[in-house]
Symmetry: C2
Subunit: 114 residues, 2 copies
DNA sequence: AGTATATACGTCTCAAGGGACATTTAGGTC
DNA sequence: GACCTAAATGTCCCTTGAGACGTATATACT
Protein backbone atom coordinates (compact mmCIF):
# COMPACT_ATOMS: atom_id res chain seq x y z
CA UNK A 1 0.00 0.00 0.00
CA UNK A 2 2.69 2.47 -0.87
CA UNK A 3 1.14 4.54 -3.60
CA UNK A 4 -1.41 7.29 -3.06
CA UNK A 5 -3.46 5.76 -5.87
CA UNK A 6 -3.95 2.51 -4.04
CA UNK A 7 -4.87 4.36 -0.88
CA UNK A 8 -7.71 6.27 -2.49
CA UNK A 9 -8.90 3.23 -4.39
CA UNK A 10 -10.83 2.19 -1.27
CA UNK A 11 -14.31 3.80 -1.08
CA UNK A 12 -14.42 4.07 2.70
CA UNK A 13 -11.12 5.88 2.71
CA UNK A 14 -12.40 8.34 0.13
CA UNK A 15 -15.42 8.87 2.34
CA UNK A 16 -13.18 9.61 5.31
CA UNK A 17 -11.15 12.08 3.29
CA UNK A 18 -14.27 13.85 2.08
CA UNK A 19 -15.58 14.01 5.62
CA UNK A 20 -12.35 15.52 6.89
CA UNK A 21 -12.65 18.16 4.22
CA UNK A 22 -15.28 20.02 6.22
CA UNK A 23 -13.24 20.02 9.41
CA UNK A 24 -11.14 17.82 11.62
CA UNK A 25 -12.89 14.93 13.37
CA UNK A 26 -12.24 12.37 16.09
CA UNK A 27 -12.36 8.66 15.37
CA UNK A 28 -15.68 8.36 17.15
CA UNK A 29 -17.21 11.10 15.05
CA UNK A 30 -16.07 9.44 11.86
CA UNK A 31 -17.39 6.14 13.13
CA UNK A 32 -20.86 7.61 13.73
CA UNK A 33 -21.00 9.76 10.62
CA UNK A 34 -19.99 6.99 8.25
CA UNK A 35 -21.66 4.12 10.15
CA UNK A 36 -18.52 2.00 10.22
CA UNK A 37 -17.30 -0.21 13.05
CA UNK A 38 -14.58 1.50 15.05
CA UNK A 39 -11.83 -1.00 14.20
CA UNK A 40 -12.55 -0.48 10.55
CA UNK A 41 -12.22 3.26 10.91
CA UNK A 42 -8.98 2.93 12.83
CA UNK A 43 -7.60 0.54 10.27
CA UNK A 44 -8.31 2.90 7.40
CA UNK A 45 -7.01 5.87 9.33
CA UNK A 46 -3.83 3.97 9.90
CA UNK A 47 -3.38 3.51 6.17
CA UNK A 48 -4.18 7.15 5.51
CA UNK A 49 -1.77 8.29 8.19
CA UNK A 50 1.08 6.09 6.97
CA UNK A 51 0.58 7.46 3.48
CA UNK A 52 0.55 11.07 4.69
CA UNK A 53 -3.07 11.85 3.82
CA UNK A 54 -3.95 12.75 7.39
CA UNK A 55 -2.32 13.60 10.67
CA UNK A 56 -3.65 13.32 14.21
CA UNK A 57 -3.23 15.10 17.48
CA UNK A 58 -4.12 13.71 20.87
CA UNK A 59 -6.91 15.29 22.89
CA UNK A 60 -7.14 13.22 26.08
CA UNK A 61 -8.44 9.80 24.98
CA UNK A 62 -9.44 11.19 21.63
CA UNK A 63 -7.41 11.34 18.48
CA UNK A 64 -8.40 14.16 16.23
CA UNK A 65 -7.63 13.70 12.55
CA UNK A 66 -7.20 16.33 9.89
CA UNK A 67 -6.24 16.40 6.23
CA UNK A 68 -2.80 16.91 4.80
CA UNK A 69 -2.58 18.08 1.20
CA UNK A 70 0.51 16.47 -0.26
CA UNK A 71 -0.53 12.99 -1.40
CA UNK A 72 -3.68 14.20 -3.10
CA UNK A 73 -1.66 16.89 -4.79
CA UNK A 74 0.57 14.18 -6.20
CA UNK A 75 -2.44 12.43 -7.66
CA UNK A 76 -3.56 15.74 -9.05
CA UNK A 77 -0.15 16.28 -10.60
CA UNK A 78 -0.42 12.96 -12.42
CA UNK A 79 -3.88 13.83 -13.68
CA UNK A 80 -2.66 17.21 -14.89
CA UNK A 81 -0.96 15.72 -17.94
CA UNK A 82 -4.33 14.48 -19.16
CA UNK A 83 -6.11 17.82 -18.96
CA UNK A 84 -4.50 19.06 -22.16
CA UNK A 85 -5.79 15.93 -23.83
CA UNK A 86 -9.33 16.58 -22.65
CA UNK A 87 -9.60 20.04 -24.09
CA UNK A 88 -8.16 18.83 -27.38
CA UNK A 89 -10.68 15.99 -27.34
CA UNK A 90 -13.59 18.29 -26.67
CA UNK A 91 -12.55 20.43 -29.62
CA UNK A 92 -12.40 17.38 -31.87
CA UNK A 93 -15.83 16.32 -30.70
CA UNK A 94 -17.20 19.72 -31.46
CA UNK A 95 -15.77 19.73 -34.94
CA UNK A 96 -17.29 16.31 -35.46
CA UNK A 97 -20.71 17.50 -34.34
CA UNK A 98 -20.37 20.51 -36.58
CA UNK A 99 -19.91 18.24 -39.52
CA UNK A 100 -23.00 16.26 -38.49
CA UNK A 101 -25.07 19.40 -38.31
CA UNK A 102 -25.77 19.72 -41.99
CA UNK A 103 -27.99 16.71 -42.78
CA UNK A 104 -30.51 17.21 -39.95
CA UNK A 105 -31.22 20.81 -39.07
CA UNK A 106 -32.90 20.89 -35.66
CA UNK A 107 -34.26 23.51 -33.28
CA UNK A 108 -30.84 23.41 -31.57
CA UNK A 109 -29.04 26.71 -31.25
CA UNK A 110 -26.11 27.30 -33.58
CA UNK A 111 -22.90 25.85 -32.28
CA UNK A 112 -19.91 28.11 -32.01
CA UNK A 113 -17.14 27.55 -34.58
CA UNK A 114 -13.46 28.39 -34.61
CA UNK B 1 -13.10 -3.49 -10.57
CA UNK B 2 -15.92 -1.09 -11.12
CA UNK B 3 -14.53 2.19 -9.95
CA UNK B 4 -12.11 4.33 -11.93
CA UNK B 5 -10.03 4.69 -8.79
CA UNK B 6 -9.33 0.97 -8.59
CA UNK B 7 -8.45 0.89 -12.27
CA UNK B 8 -5.76 3.53 -11.98
CA UNK B 9 -4.43 2.05 -8.74
CA UNK B 10 -2.38 -0.37 -10.85
CA UNK B 11 1.00 1.07 -11.91
CA UNK B 12 1.16 -0.74 -15.25
CA UNK B 13 -2.24 0.59 -16.18
CA UNK B 14 -1.18 4.11 -15.36
CA UNK B 15 1.87 3.56 -17.54
CA UNK B 16 -0.34 2.44 -20.40
CA UNK B 17 -2.55 5.49 -20.03
CA UNK B 18 0.44 7.81 -20.01
CA UNK B 19 1.83 6.10 -23.08
CA UNK B 20 -1.46 6.49 -24.92
CA UNK B 21 -1.37 10.17 -24.11
CA UNK B 22 1.22 10.82 -26.80
CA UNK B 23 -0.75 8.97 -29.48
CA UNK B 24 -2.68 5.80 -30.11
CA UNK B 25 -0.73 2.54 -30.05
CA UNK B 26 -1.15 -1.10 -30.92
CA UNK B 27 -0.86 -3.83 -28.33
CA UNK B 28 2.52 -4.84 -29.69
CA UNK B 29 3.87 -1.32 -29.41
CA UNK B 30 2.72 -1.08 -25.82
CA UNK B 31 4.25 -4.46 -25.11
CA UNK B 32 7.64 -3.34 -26.41
CA UNK B 33 7.61 0.16 -24.97
CA UNK B 34 6.67 -0.95 -21.48
CA UNK B 35 8.52 -4.28 -21.54
CA UNK B 36 5.54 -6.30 -20.42
CA UNK B 37 4.52 -9.76 -21.58
CA UNK B 38 1.79 -9.54 -24.19
CA UNK B 39 -0.87 -11.37 -22.13
CA UNK B 40 -0.30 -8.91 -19.32
CA UNK B 41 -0.80 -5.98 -21.66
CA UNK B 42 -3.97 -7.48 -23.09
CA UNK B 43 -5.32 -8.19 -19.63
CA UNK B 44 -4.78 -4.63 -18.49
CA UNK B 45 -6.20 -3.25 -21.70
CA UNK B 46 -9.26 -5.35 -21.12
CA UNK B 47 -9.75 -3.74 -17.71
CA UNK B 48 -9.16 -0.28 -19.14
CA UNK B 49 -11.58 -0.92 -21.99
CA UNK B 50 -14.32 -2.26 -19.72
CA UNK B 51 -13.96 0.81 -17.53
CA UNK B 52 -14.11 3.16 -20.50
CA UNK B 53 -10.57 4.52 -20.24
CA UNK B 54 -9.65 3.39 -23.74
CA UNK B 55 -11.24 2.23 -26.95
CA UNK B 56 -9.83 0.17 -29.79
CA UNK B 57 -10.27 -0.14 -33.49
CA UNK B 58 -9.19 -3.05 -35.63
CA UNK B 59 -6.45 -2.58 -38.20
CA UNK B 60 -5.96 -5.98 -39.85
CA UNK B 61 -4.46 -8.20 -37.14
CA UNK B 62 -3.70 -5.21 -34.97
CA UNK B 63 -5.84 -3.55 -32.37
CA UNK B 64 -5.07 0.11 -31.99
CA UNK B 65 -5.92 1.62 -28.65
CA UNK B 66 -6.56 5.25 -27.80
CA UNK B 67 -7.60 7.21 -24.76
CA UNK B 68 -11.12 8.19 -23.80
CA UNK B 69 -11.46 11.09 -21.41
CA UNK B 70 -14.50 10.37 -19.28
CA UNK B 71 -13.29 8.13 -16.44
CA UNK B 72 -10.25 10.26 -15.71
CA UNK B 73 -12.46 13.30 -15.71
CA UNK B 74 -14.54 11.66 -13.00
CA UNK B 75 -11.47 11.17 -10.88
CA UNK B 76 -10.58 14.76 -11.54
CA UNK B 77 -14.03 15.86 -10.47
CA UNK B 78 -13.61 14.09 -7.14
CA UNK B 79 -10.23 15.71 -6.61
CA UNK B 80 -11.68 19.10 -7.39
CA UNK B 81 -13.31 19.43 -3.98
CA UNK B 82 -9.88 19.25 -2.37
CA UNK B 83 -8.32 22.04 -4.39
CA UNK B 84 -10.02 24.73 -2.36
CA UNK B 85 -8.53 23.10 0.71
CA UNK B 86 -5.04 23.19 -0.76
CA UNK B 87 -5.02 26.87 -1.51
CA UNK B 88 -6.28 27.61 1.98
CA UNK B 89 -3.57 25.37 3.37
CA UNK B 90 -0.85 27.01 1.32
CA UNK B 91 -2.01 30.39 2.56
CA UNK B 92 -1.78 29.21 6.13
CA UNK B 93 1.72 27.88 5.48
CA UNK B 94 2.76 31.16 3.98
CA UNK B 95 1.47 33.10 6.94
CA UNK B 96 3.38 30.72 9.16
CA UNK B 97 6.59 31.24 7.20
CA UNK B 98 6.03 34.99 7.29
CA UNK B 99 5.96 34.82 11.04
CA UNK B 100 9.18 32.84 11.02
CA UNK B 101 10.87 35.41 8.80
CA UNK B 102 11.66 37.93 11.48
CA UNK B 103 14.33 36.17 13.57
CA UNK B 104 16.64 35.17 10.69
CA UNK B 105 16.79 37.59 7.79
CA UNK B 106 18.25 35.83 4.75
CA UNK B 107 19.12 36.66 1.14
CA UNK B 108 15.70 35.33 0.19
CA UNK B 109 13.41 37.64 -1.77
CA UNK B 110 10.55 39.20 0.14
CA UNK B 111 7.50 36.97 0.30
CA UNK B 112 4.25 38.41 -0.92
CA UNK B 113 1.66 39.18 1.75
CA UNK B 114 -2.09 39.57 1.60
C1' DA C 1 -1.81 -24.32 -47.99
C1' DG C 2 1.71 -23.27 -44.53
C1' DT C 3 3.95 -20.27 -41.54
C1' DA C 4 4.52 -16.23 -38.80
C1' DT C 5 2.47 -12.54 -36.27
C1' DA C 6 -1.04 -10.20 -33.34
C1' DT C 7 -4.17 -10.54 -29.88
C1' DA C 8 -7.51 -12.61 -26.77
C1' DC C 9 -8.66 -15.94 -23.35
C1' DG C 10 -8.54 -19.60 -19.74
C1' DT C 11 -6.28 -21.58 -15.73
C1' DC C 12 -3.42 -21.75 -11.88
C1' DT C 13 -0.98 -19.88 -8.02
C1' DC C 14 0.06 -16.52 -4.79
C1' DA C 15 -0.15 -12.54 -2.00
C1' DA C 16 -2.57 -8.67 -0.30
C1' DG C 17 -6.35 -6.30 1.53
C1' DG C 18 -10.86 -5.77 3.80
C1' DG C 19 -14.51 -7.04 7.24
C1' DA C 20 -15.80 -8.88 11.70
C1' DC C 21 -14.73 -9.81 16.21
C1' DA C 22 -12.00 -10.05 20.41
C1' DT C 23 -8.54 -7.99 23.06
C1' DT C 24 -5.45 -4.50 24.73
C1' DT C 25 -3.85 0.04 25.94
C1' DA C 26 -4.51 4.59 27.63
C1' DG C 27 -6.93 8.36 29.64
C1' DG C 28 -10.80 10.17 32.72
C1' DT C 29 -14.08 9.94 36.46
C1' DC C 30 -16.02 8.56 40.69
C1' DG D 1 -8.45 1.40 42.76
C1' DA D 2 -12.80 0.20 40.06
C1' DC D 3 -15.05 1.43 36.12
C1' DC D 4 -16.06 3.71 31.70
C1' DT D 5 -14.85 5.46 27.20
C1' DA D 6 -11.82 6.07 23.11
C1' DA D 7 -8.89 4.15 20.07
C1' DA D 8 -5.44 0.86 18.49
C1' DT D 9 -4.01 -3.72 17.55
C1' DG D 10 -4.16 -8.74 16.56
C1' DT D 11 -6.36 -12.80 14.43
C1' DC D 12 -9.14 -15.23 11.32
C1' DC D 13 -11.55 -15.78 7.06
C1' DC D 14 -12.61 -14.73 2.50
C1' DT D 15 -12.33 -12.42 -1.84
C1' DT D 16 -9.94 -10.33 -5.43
C1' DG D 17 -6.55 -9.24 -8.52
C1' DA D 18 -1.97 -9.70 -10.70
C1' DG D 19 1.54 -12.48 -12.94
C1' DA D 20 2.96 -16.48 -15.62
C1' DC D 21 2.04 -19.68 -18.91
C1' DG D 22 -0.26 -22.20 -22.36
C1' DT D 23 -3.33 -22.02 -25.98
C1' DA D 24 -6.85 -20.55 -29.34
C1' DT D 25 -8.20 -17.49 -33.15
C1' DA D 26 -7.61 -14.38 -36.81
C1' DT D 27 -5.06 -12.04 -40.32
C1' DA D 28 -1.04 -11.36 -43.45
C1' DC D 29 2.75 -12.94 -46.25
C1' DT D 30 4.96 -16.18 -49.28
Amino acid sequence: MESAFEVIAEPNRRAILSLLLSSQHSVGEIERQLRMPQPTVSKHLRVLRDAGFVESTVDAQRRVYRLKPVPLQEVDAWLAQFRRFWSAHVDALERHLDRMDQPTPTKRKTRRRR
